[in-house]
């Protein structure tokens, strides 16, 4: 198996792993971590599959991932501050159970 597909599969694994953690964990910090793991998974798929070329790997996918990394860190920063504010306002760094009534 060429490493491209190996790493792409690892990316898929990270994506689902992150999704699982995102759903089961209540603590917001863990949810944010989970989202970051998911993002890493997506980036890995993007870059790994870009290596299926003869010579130089596809630079467009690399550029997309660099864009993605910056977006991810921006979102993470906002999420972390928001988490702290939620903690201050409600006393817990968790979301209340869905108010389905």
């Amino acid at each position: 198996m060429i490493p491209a597909f190996l790493y792409a599969l690892v990316g898929v694994g990270l994506f689902t792993l992150g999704l699982y953690a995102l759903i089961i964990h209540a603590h917001l910090l863990r949810k944010i971590l989970a989202l970051n793991v998911m993002a890493s998974g997506v980036f890995l798929v993007l870059v790994a599959l870009a290596a299926r070329t003869q010579g130089m790997p596809d630079p467009v996918a690399h550029a997309m991932v660099i864009t993605g990394i910056v977006v991810a860190v921006s979102a993470t920063a906002l999420a972390l501050v928001l988490m702290l504010r939620v903690r201050i306002a409600t006393g817990r760094a968790e979301l209340a159970k869905e108010p389905l009534e």
Partner: protein, 481 residues
């Protein structure tokens, strides 16, 4: 014709970005700067409309490279209507928020709102699925920050949940983009539409992208995040979230569905229709059960979003036009409603429905706005909502799938029930005098004006349909009926 050569669409993206930066740099002048930008954007959209009418659908290669290497912008009738909707609602919200926010809040509101507007315009104009991802993120972060602007536990929790959902949706979408890109070597929608063919990777991409976008569009049962976020945000923010932001992800979904996934098949369309019908009924029932006005309006958004998906199983031009009409009239009507709710909150300090009779009578314009918007929401003539209902019903009967009409009709009755439940308080006599804060006239009049727009949408249908047909976004004439 020099003015026809100006790339109006590009200006509609650049101006709000520049506006956002200048509002951020000089917070004391944020309000005039924002208003001027808003006006300029409206002019740009009008210019683009003129351009499209004269020259037909437009493609614009950013950087001069052209697809597939570069990023293309594309504007047809569908784009234009979305941009016009954003411009009208955006202008209304800009004026409304002059009165709504105090100096301290306005300082944060304006740059965020300008960023959001830029994101919307960029999104509607983009013809590149990765660029759409970036605009989605821009949109999502701006929306979350705006929700959190209200402060307070409810708003912060709502914003947090919204952020997580929004990021999850974007990631699903991005993974889909990755699969599509690596299948066909392009992220340009038109190029993909040419090259696309059914394969496991495409199906996976379709599943991921549709799921991600449905999550952001809050289609039942993925709507769980919407009521708390929309209801707890400041009123103008609630308005723009319900009117514009959820529509943006729907727009992407629609484009992908029409262009890249035409092979998706009837089963998936039926599933979307089913979820839409469930949303209509569930949202309507929940709206009826709410005790707080803004929560009620938020649930009604869930229901109205359901209507949009009824068009998928119908798959005819009439059906798509109907869905588009729901989208437009809901935007105007829901803006008016959230503004009205904002006025009531501003005036009386609460939005408990049972205590409304003490507030409502002092705000005749506001309640008129609410009632007019309600007429459109429940689909009574003459209003945009009625036209939408008519078109969808016609499409349902024509395609022989009359059962979708039942959801449509029941949804209309449910919304009639809650609209009149609220409006009924306008006619009760209040004994208790209420201590109140005067509502700025601009806030009342903008609410009314937006409601009038929702009504007028029902009277200028041929004109709007002519705009919509530029570039034939829903395919040729032949497939009607």
């Amino acid at each position: 014709m020099l003015a026809l050569d100006i790339p109006w669409g590009v200006m509609a993206i650049i101006l709000p970005l520049a506006g956002a930066m200048s509002c951020f740099l000089w917070p004391r002048c944020a309000l005039p700067l924002g208003l001027v930008t808003a006006l300029a954007i409206v002019i740009c959209v009008a210019g683009l409309g003129w351009q499209l009418l004269e020259q037909g659908a437009q493609r614009y290669a950013v950087g001069g490279w052209g697809a597939p290497l570069g990023i293309d912008l594309y504007a047809d009738g569908l784009t234009l209507l979305m941009l016009m909707m954003t411009a009208v609602v955006g202008l209304g919200i800009s004026i409304y928020s002059c009165g709504y926010f105090n100096q301290d809040r306005a300082r944060h509101f304006w740059p965020l709102w300008m960023f959001l507007w830029a994101a919307l315009n960029a999104l509607f104009l983009s013809a590149d699925i990765f660029n759409l991802y970036v605009t989605l993120e821009l949109l999502g972060l701006a929306a979350v920050a705006l929700v959190a602007l209200a402060g307070g536990a409810d708003a912060l929790t709502g914003a947090m949940r919204y952020l997580l959902v929004s990021l999850l949706g974007s990631l699903c979408y991005l993974l889909g983009v990755a699969l599509l890109y690596h299948s066909f070597g392009s992220v340009d929608i038109a190029t993909l539409a040419e090259r696309v063919e059914s394969s496991p990777a495409v199906w996976a991409a379709m599943g991921l992208m549709i799921t991600g976008l449905l999550l952001k569009t809050a289609l039942f049962p993925l709507h769980f995040w919407l009521p708390s976020a929309h209801a707890s945000a400041p009123a103008p923010v609630s308005a723009l979230l319900s009117a514009l932001v959820v529509k943006a992800s729907f727009y992407i979904l629609l484009r992908l569905w029409l262009e890249i996934f035409p092979f998706a098949g009837a089963a998936l369309a039926q599933l979307l229709g089913l979820l839409g019908a469930a949303a209509v009924l569930w949202g309507g029932l929940q709206a009826l059960r709410q005790t707080r006005l803004k929560m009620l309006i938020a649930y009604s958004t869930v229901a109205q979003l359901g209507y949009l998906f009824l068009a998928f199983p119908l798959a005819s031009i009439t059906g798509w036009t109907g869905a588009l009409y729901v989208l437009l009239s809901h935007a105007a009507a829901k803006t008016a409603m959230f503004m009205a709710a904002g006025n009531i909150l501003y005036f009386g300090g609460h939005d408990r429905i049972v205590d409304l009779d003490r507030v409502v009578q002092h705000l005749p314009l506001t309640i008129t706005a609410f009632a007019l918007a309600g007429i459109s929401i429940m689909g009574l003539p003459p209003s945009g909502g009625f036209i939408a209902k008519w078109l969808l019903l016609e499409a349902a009967i024509r395609s022989g799938q009359w059962w979708w009409g039942i959801a449509l009709i029941l949804g209309g009755l449910l919304s009639a029930a809650w609209v009149f439940k609220v409006v009924g308080y306008a006619f009760t006599r209040s004994e208790v005098p209420h201590e109140a804060r005067a509502v700025p006239a601009a806030m009342e009049w903008t609410a009314l004006l937006m409601a009038v727009v929702a009504i007028l949408l029902g009277l200028f249908v041929p004109w709007l349909l002519a705009l919509m047909e530029i570039g034939l976004p829903f395919g040729g004439e032949g497939s009607a009926g």
